[in-house]
Structures are given as structure tokens and as C-alpha cells.
Amino acid sequence: MKREAPNLFAALLLGVFGNVLLTSQVGYSVRPGALLLPTSATVLTLAAVVFAWSWRILERNLLARWSLMALLAMSSALEILRLWRLFSSAYPEGMSMFGICLMIVAPVIYLRRVSSIAQTANVVLSILLVTCVLLVISIAPQLRLFNLQSAPVTAQQVQTTFLAQAVLFPEYLLPALWPGSARFGKHTLLRLSLFGVGFSVAAHFVLELFFGADAPLQENPLHTAAQSGALSIFNRLEWLQLILWTMIVTIKLAMYLYAGVHLMGGAACKSENNAVGLDRFPFYFGLMLLLCALWRSADIDQLAVARNLLLLIFTGMVILGGVFRWLLGARA
């Protein structure tokens, strides 16, 4: 009951689960997904571990710090835009981008301390898991075992599946900012990638049981499945899903902001330990609003692909830089 060292692993896990649920359009068949699970998890873990090692060497490099900050800001804006699109499709009238932006960023004010991010993430993760169980129960009568595909796996399928599973989201890079197990627990990266890819496979397994061969072709399979619930609980509760997504995105944003402040020098405000100062919120809100306004009419999927690519390039650069510095004898 005593908060000796708030553990942020739940926040990272929630972020990864959120990525899986909100980007489940990138569909793949469950068989290659299950087969590739160990490979994808290993690749992700290795990439993150090497990144963390290189980051310790390059930690003081201003360019690296500012680049990661920019990527985190881009990811935050992307999450807001994605949610705005979701809200706009569900409720076409009266959903202004300013309103959505304000509603997502405002709770971050109360999520500026590590302990509050950690505990809120625990609660939202519990709600998410309960909701997932409810979703599966509600669509259980429509899940058919014979929907599982048994056709031979093609090289194209393997490639698509691997690309969908092994996306290096910012969550895999963040543990590098706080080395050691104090902030996230032991074997953070291995657990994170295993849980993340495992959850993705489980979600696609349920979707394949529901849709059969059409699962990878659905535009928004999770949403469609949820609305077809035999028990009808999600038929009328679309708003509940959206509320849950909002909570997940807000916690992701809080986590990114906390990491951003750490990258800027880590100094929190004087009175509260490990906190983001209140004085930074107007600037933060302004920045998010500006980025959202800039990318307002951009294609979100393309933007997400660009972000993933940039993250990959950044990771590669950091790893290369780290290796070079290490070879030249720089002290870690």
C-alpha cells in the first residue's frame, strides 16, 4: 500500500495495447501471427535493448534528445488526431478538434506525477481487460472455430504479419530513459514485447474466429465485431469504447510528456518530486493544438507510417552512433 517506487510498466503496457486496438486495421491471419510471435518479440526486445544501451552512451547528445522529443510530440499529436477521426466518424456533428484536443490534454494536468500516471494506468488497464472479456463474451455465440484459416501460409503473409507485429512504438524506447529496474520492474523490454505481441495475436485470433478469412480485409474489425455483440451490450455502448480509448490516449500522452520533460533536463517543479510543472501546460497544450491543426487534413494512416519510419531511422541512428562512440572508446 506504500508507494515506495511507482511502477510505470502498466502505463507502457497500456500504450502498447492501445496501439494494438486502435491500429487493428493492419490485419493479419492468426496462424502466421502465432508462429511469428517469438520472432517478433525477440526482434523488438533486441532492438529496444540495443537502443537502451546506445542511449546510455549518447544520452547527453542534444540532437538525439531533441529528435526523440520531436518524435514523442508527433506521436502525441497523431494519437489526438486518430481519436478525433474516431469521434468524428461516430458523432459527425459538433466534434471540434479544439474540443477533442482540450478534453484529451486537460486530464494530463492531474497525471503529471509518476505515482498518478502509474496508478491511473493500473486502473485503466484493469478496465480495459474487463471490457475485452465482456466484448469476447458478448460476441461468443458468433465466434466459429471453423473460421480459423488453414490454407498454407505464403511469404507475403509472413512479411505482412511481421511488419504488423514488429512495429517499434515509442513505448519500447522509453525504458531507455530510466535505466535500471526501479521505474518499470525487471526484464521490462522482454515482458513488454511479449505482452504486446501476445495481445496482438490474441486480438487477431478473436477477430479471425469472428470474421474468418475476411478479418484482415476489414476496415475497422474491432469496432464492427463489438457492435455485433449477441448480448448487445456494445451495440449501444459505442460511447463506452470511445471513452476507454480516450483514457488510454490521455495516459499515453501523460507518459510522453513526462518523458519529454525528462529529456529537457528532467527538472520537475520545486514542490513536487518527479512531477511536470504546471507552468508547462499552456505551452504543451498550444503545441498539441498547433500540430493537430497542421496535420488536420493529413492522412492519419500515412502519418502513422511516416512516424514509424522516423522512429525506426532514429533508433537505427542512435544504435549506430552508440556503437561508433563505443568503438572510439567513449565512456558509457
Binding site: 500500500m1 459538433g94 477533442i100 486530464p107 492531474y110 497525471l111 498518478s116 496508478q119 460511447w239
Partner: protein, 481 residues
């Protein structure tokens, strides 16, 4: 150094008397009388409302006459009174003017002695006080039915009576207020964590207030995040509840003049607990506790959810109910949000008026407000019946968890406003704001949501529900800090 010397009592009786006369001479209740004991000139001072001259005569002066000791000097008399006499004097002499004033204000009679730079305090307190009565704000069917009163020492005695161990500590402190009000930290030194006690002591020591009338004045100083609306401590007027919390390793703060004790650290789940939970059967107690959680959710989110359903997400309402609600809404000029805000505000005004008005007319105020205004507002078509029903249900639900009343009201207004303006995202934002506030509270480093979150065995032991007494008693250690 000079100031310290000036504060010391003088050897000469007249100087000390002059100080008292200049300080309290004009006061109606100040009493000072010269007398001699043996060959020593003395003077007795007291406040008549706080100390009893009759007790002084019976317990001190006549006893002293019977002892027939012959005192040659003031120092001899002082030594005799402090160490040898049967008179109920304080064991430590009064050596400074500040101590002298404090003793008088505490209701002691003080004997000033000529030729001695010390005075002797005699316990003759007799203060007007309210007798121990039933608690007015914490209804319980079973268990002790006595409540704290305004006298600090009585309140400590009420606790000590229930807590018959040597580990019970009642630490007296004087606040940094103009009136130097006393407060007391009560805890079990074997169960309360030493770092919590130390931290609490330090934080309270730093508090500077113009006046201290209740333990709740400390609340704001104990919060880590001042923007957080959840309370920093729980309050009780029942010694039995305070005793139970002390057994859990918590600290009870009593303030002189207030019949309410503050319990720190306090957790969210404690607001849903009552003494009756442990007297009733586990199944029934669990059911009632779950009902309280539902009532809290209804009180906070009910009206907002109604506004959201009607204005933004009508698909969540069954068709037949939706047509009834739509018909009712069509007859009113205001939007659902404004309607809900108006009714909720009106109910709060009625409640406040009923609470503050004299008891003889408070029932009339409630009747006029709730029945007549409500009825006429509906008849006039200003508000609809469903809105009135929802607002009334939320208000009644608020009373199921009275200790979170302030928070329920504030959160309710926030949820209605955000949902009414921004729709579903507004509802999501308000829900997350409340959740983040609850999760962000960490009183003295403890999880505010313990034992509810993160889910563990303790959640079912004494969290959302309570387990049976046999297993509750077996795992008693889990309930402690």
C-alpha cells in the same frame, strides 16, 4: 536572552501580580486573591469560568491548613507544594509568564509565592461543557453511541477508555495561531509507522493559521497536490471509529474546541465503510457497501450521463424510454444541460437554506423548496419531470456517502458542464479527471485507492466487500498500515 529574562517570573510577588493585573485586570472572569501561608505572602489567581473557587477551597486551601506546616520562605513553600503536599498540584513549577498564562487559560489555579521566582499550578478545572451525546452526523444502528465533545481532554479520555493498552499515545501540541489552540495527535506507537508520525508532526508544526477551530483546517496543509479535490483526511465524531482507525495504524488529530477528529492517512474506501458493516453479516454488509459505491457513481455521473444520452448519444436509451424523454424535453425551453444545471443548483440552494436556517423553519424551507418550487417549475414547463427525477436521485445518492458530499457536488457540476459542452469526449475527460485525482492522491506516500486498486486479496478482504469475521480476524495484519 533579554526577552527570555523578561519572560521569567519575578521573585517579588507584587511584580508578578502587576503583570497579571495589566494583562487580565479588566477581564470579568479574572480572579486574584492575596493570602498568607505561614510567614509567606502568596496570591492565588484563576479564571472563574474555567476553574472552580470551591474546588480550590476544598481541595487545596483547607487541605493545606490541615497539614499545619510552618513555612519560613517562599522557596520552602514551593518545594513543599511540589514534592510533599497532598494537594493536587502540577509536578513542574511555573517559571515563565507564558507558562503562567497557559496554565490559567487551561483552567488551573496558580499560586504565586513571594520570594520565589516560581508559581505552582493547582488542578481545579471546572469548565462548562456539553455532555457526551449521540453523534449527529454518523448514523449507526449498532456499536457505541457516544460522540466526541468540544473539550480536548474529554475526547482523549473517550479514546483512552476504549484503548486500554500502554501503546496508546496522545501527544499534545500547541498550534501557531494567535489563540495558541491546542491539538492532539493520538496513535498507537506499536502500529503507526514512525515515519508517518514524524512527517505528520513536521507538517503540522509548519502550519501557520490565524485561527484553528477544527481539525479540518489542517487538511489543506496535508495535501501534496493542492489541485486535488479528494480530502486529505477522513473525519469522525465517533470515538469508536477513531479507535478502530488507530488500531489500523493511523493517526487521529483532535483539536481543542472541536467535536470532530481527523484521521490520517485516509483512503478512498474508508468513505464507504461504517461501524455497522462489522456488526451486520458479511453478505449484507458487502451488499450495502456495493450499493454505496453505486450510489457514489450515480451521484457523480448520473446527471452527466443523462445529459450526454439525451444530447449526444440517444442510441444508448431504449426506444420507448427515448420517446418519453423526448416528449418531456420538447415541452421545456432549456437545453438538457441547462435544465440539469438549474435543477441541481436549485436543490443545492434548498439544501443550504435548510441547513443554515433556524431549526424551527428549516423543514418549511425544505418543503417549500423541494415540493412547491419543483412542482411549479414542472407545471410552468421550465424543467421536465425526467430531469427533476434524475437530479433528485443523484442528490439522494449523494447522502449515501456523506463524507464525500463536497466532492460529489463539485464533480457532478463538472461532469454536467463538460458533457453538456463537449459531449462524449467531455464525459470521458471528466471521468478521467476524477480517476486521475483519486489515483494521484498519495497521503503520506500511501495509495489512496488501497485496497481497491491494484486488485489484490485485500480488495475482497475489506474493500469493495468485506469477508467474514473469522478470516478478517486471521488476516488482521493486512488491514494495517
Amino acid at each position: 536572552m533579554q526577552q527570555q529574562a523578561a519572560d521569567r517570573l519575578a521573585k517579588e510577588l507584587d511584580v508578578n501580580k502587576e503583570f497579571l493585573q495589566s494583562s487580565f485586570g479588566d477581564s470579568l472572569d479574572f480572579y486574584c486573591k492575596d493570602l498568607s501561608m505561614g510567614r509567606v505572602r502568596c496570591s492565588i489567581a484563576l479564571f472563574t469560568g474555567l476553574s472552580s473557587p470551591e474546588k480550590l477551597t476544598v481541595m487545596a486551601l483547607s487541605l493545606l491548613e490541615q497539614e499545619k506546616a510552618d513555612f519560613q520562605s517562599g522557596a520552602q513553600l514551593c518545594r513543599y507544594l511540589l514534592t510533599m503536599s497532598r494537594i493536587p498540584t502540577e509536578s513542574t513549577p511555573v517559571t515563565t509568564r507564558q507558562m503562567l498564562v497557559e496554565r490559567l487559560a487551561n483552567g488551573l489555579a496558580v499560586l504565586l509565592i513571594d520570594g520565589c521566582p516560581c508559581a505552582v499550578g493547582i488542578s481545579t478545572q471546572e469548565m462548562p461543557q456539553r455532555s457526551v451525546s449521540n453523534p449527529g452526523g454518523e448514523g449507526n444502528m449498532h456499536g457505541p453511541q457516544e460522540a466526541f465533545t468540544e473539550l480536548l481532554r474529554n475526547n482523549v479520555s473517550l479514546l483512552r477508555r476504549q484503548f486500554r493498552t500502554g501503546s496508546f499515545v496522545a501527544e499534545l501540541h500547541i498550534s501557531h495561531t494567535h489563540a495558541k489552540t491546542e491539538y492532539c495527535l493520538c496513535y498507537d506507537k506499536e502500529r503507526a509507522p514512525a515515519d508517518t508520525i514524524r512527517a505528520l508532526r513536521e507538517r503540522l508544526e509548519k502550519v501557520r493559521l490565524p485561527v484553528l477551530l477544527d481539525s479540518s483546517y489542517f487538511a489543506s496543509f496535508l495535501k501534496q497536490d493542492k489541485l486535488n479535490l479528494f480530502p486529505a483526511g477522513a473525519y469522525t465524531e465517533r470515538p469508536a471509529t477513531a479507535c478502530a482507525r488507530i488500531c489500523e495504524g493511523k493517526v487521529v488529530i483532535l483539536v481543542s474546541g472541536s467535536p470532530f477528529a481527523m484521521v490520517v492517512p485516509s483512503f478512498f474506501s474508508e468513505h464507504f465503510e461504517s461501524l455497522d458493516d462489522y456488526s451486520a453479516g458479511a453478505v449484507f454488509a458487502g451488499l450495502i457497501r456495493l450499493l454505496k459505491y453505486i450510489a457514489f457513481l450515480l451521484a457523480v455521473f448520473g446527471p452527466g450521463l443523462y445529459v450526454m444520452a439525451l444530447s449526444y448519444a440517444p442510441e444508448i436509451i431504449p426506444i420507448r424510454l427515448l420517446s418519453t424523454l423526448a416528449k418531456a424535453e420538447a415541452q421545456t425551453p432549456l437545453s438538457p444541460m441547462l435544465e440539469m444545471l438549474t435543477v441541481t443548483l436549485l436543490l443545492e440552494i434548498v439544501r443550504e437554506a435548510g441547513l443554515r436556517s433556524p431549526k424551527s423553519i428549516s423543514h418549511t424551507v425544505s418543503l417549500v423548496g423541494a415540493l412547491i418550487i419543483g412542482e411549479t417549475a414542472v407545471s410552468a414547463g421550465i424543467v421536465s419531470v425526467p430531469v427533476l427525477t434524475m437530479a433528485a436521485a443523484a442528490t439522494v445518492a449523494t447522502l449515501a456517502v456523506p463524507s464525500l458530499y463536497e466532492q460529489s457536488i463539485l464533480f457532478r457540476f463538472g461532469v454536467i458542464l463538460l458533457t453538456g459542452v463537449f459531449g462524449v469526449p467531455g464525459f470521458a475527460c471528466s471521468a478521467l479527471l476524477i480517476l486521475a485525482m483519486a489515483c494521484g492522491s498519495d497521503p503520506f506516500g500511501y495509495d489512496y485507492l488501497y485496497p481497491l486498486m491494484p486488485p489484490s486479496r485485500a480488495t475482497l478482504r475489506d474493500g469493495f466487500v468485506r469477508t467474514i469475521w473469522t478470516s478478517l480476524a486471521k488476516s488482521e495484519g493486512e488491514g494495517r498500515l
